[in-house]
């Protein structure tokens, strides 16, 4: 009854080749890092594979569907997940389409305590592999979706340090209102991760941290203390 492994991947739709169109190869490194992280996550063979991303809080069901972005492609099965959860579903379909998975929405405005509690509860339900889908600030440059904000880089730096070192306390200290101002989409799911990993993180690996389009993307993998190595 514990977190077996976790991975952090971006929610950026441009990582889906059929959404990126002719520029799909431009982000090959980021895509490869994310694929590696998801592959190592599913390789742990945990009972439960859970995707956490910002949405209204609660369990969700369905599959990825790109029609709302203007592309008529969708995964197998019924229902349409909201975008960030859909990105998680897509990553799992890329790597392990047959593995059952569950989806956990967490309100983008939920405070750290609520997020942490969601993580604790999820980890209490079985051997859990958690895929946290979200990004750092979308205000890293003048061309960024949210324009430049000087507070964005220090915020992302804190996230980077926490993900690199497996520091759950630092993740739980991330400021929620500031995250909203800085268009940080990952804050709530990362705090769910911190809650799920409450027992401590044995090893952490940061595979990617950069903001190529003014949005900061992170890829990381965590193995909690005592968890079997993949």
């Amino acid at each position: 009854m514990t977190l077996v492994a976790a991975a952090v991947v971006p929610a950026a739709p441009l990582l889906v080749p059929e959404l990126a169109g002719g520029s799909a190869d431009v982000d090959a490194e980021l895509r490869a890092c994310a694929r590696e992280a998801v592959t190592s996550l599913v390789a742990t063979g945990a009972d439960l594979l859970v995707v956490a991303a910002d949405d209204r809080t609660g369990p969700r069901s369905g599959t990825w569907d790109w029609a709302p972005l203007g592309v008529g492609r969708r995964g197998a099965g019924e229902g349409r997940l909201p975008l960030a959860l859909a990105m998680g579903a897509w990553w799992l379909d890329e790597v392990a389409p047959d593995r059952p998975r569950a989806f956990l929405g967490v309100d983008a405005g939920a405070d750290a305590r609520v997020c942490r509690e969601l993580g604790v509860t999820a980890a209490g339900q079985g051997d859990l592999a958690l895929l946290a889908v979200g990004d750092g600030s979308a205000r890293r440059s003048e061309k960024a979706p949210g324009y430049y904000d000087p507070r964005a880089e220090p915020y992302d730096d804190q996230v980077e340090r926490a993900l690199r070192s497996g520091d759950t306390r630092q993740l739980l200290e991330l400021d929620a209102p500031l995250a909203a101002e800085l268009l940080v989409q990952g804050r709530a799911p990362w705090q769910v991760l911190a809650g799920a990993a409450g027992g401590g993180v044995g090893s952490a690996q940061l595979l990617y941290a950069a903001a190529p389009y003014g949005v900061c993307y992170f890829v990381a993998t965590w193995q909690p203390t005592g968890a079997p190595r993949a």
């Binding site: 739709p13 520029s23 972005l69 203007g70 003048e142 324009y147 268009l183």
Partner: protein
Amino acid sequence: VTAQSPLRLGRRVFVPGEPVVMAIVNRTPDSFFDRGRTYGLDAALDRVDQVVEEGAGIIDIGGVKAAPGEEVGPAEEVRRVVDLVEGVRERHPDVVISVDTYRAAVGDVVCRAGADLLNDAWGGWEPELAEVAARHDVGIVCTHAGRLPPRTRPHRVTYDDVVADVVSTVAGLADRAVSLGVRRDAVLIDPGHDFGKNSRHSIEVTRRLGELVDTGWPVLVALSRKDFVGEVLDLGTDERLEGTLAATAVSAFLGARVFRAHDVAATSRVVRMVAAVRGEADLAVGRRGLA
């Protein structure tokens, strides 16, 4: 499907089948394409003379660039645009003067200075702008901007059906404007290409523009050198003319009536050609095989 009817703005009446080019004249130092070329009053007036010569029926004057950037307050916006409105009014009494603003306070000032149309490109962000249009008996452009605040960029925007969202939003804004007292024949709708939309959304809106035309409201399209053109072709703003004109031709063929453009001469020729194909414009010269 509701039939199109004449559009009355300032001293002009534009009947269905008569395409109108709206020339962009920015009094900004930092707009994405012209980059300050007409920031000075003299340069702006010269450009107005030129675009009127090239066939523009409407001049769209802007004082604040659409993208995020340096904050421009209402007083500064007025300073940038009002003398140009006055100057154009004096030099070209018949041309329709539009001002691209989302601020009601700015709209009020420019209407007093002679503007005929308020181009509310941020989709009714200040609901009072339509009241200003009614009070001054000028027209208004009702735009879909995806409910985004002014001067913001779309970020992972999704729509169940982008065209349905556009139609219901702009028709709602148009009905509201009329209910507030804006003349029905002075209201236009604009799907707001790139505003609150990814490039595929803008392309879908272009492909299905007929659904907007079917509302009966005259459709304005603002396509000029925008990112959706740039992303189809992977070209920068300086190389987007042909892509812009292709989208212009398609929009014209599907029934758009007003075309907001940087490249006025080229746009005028394209929309006249399309009007001929639609059977709405006759030959300027008819000799081939007829002599």
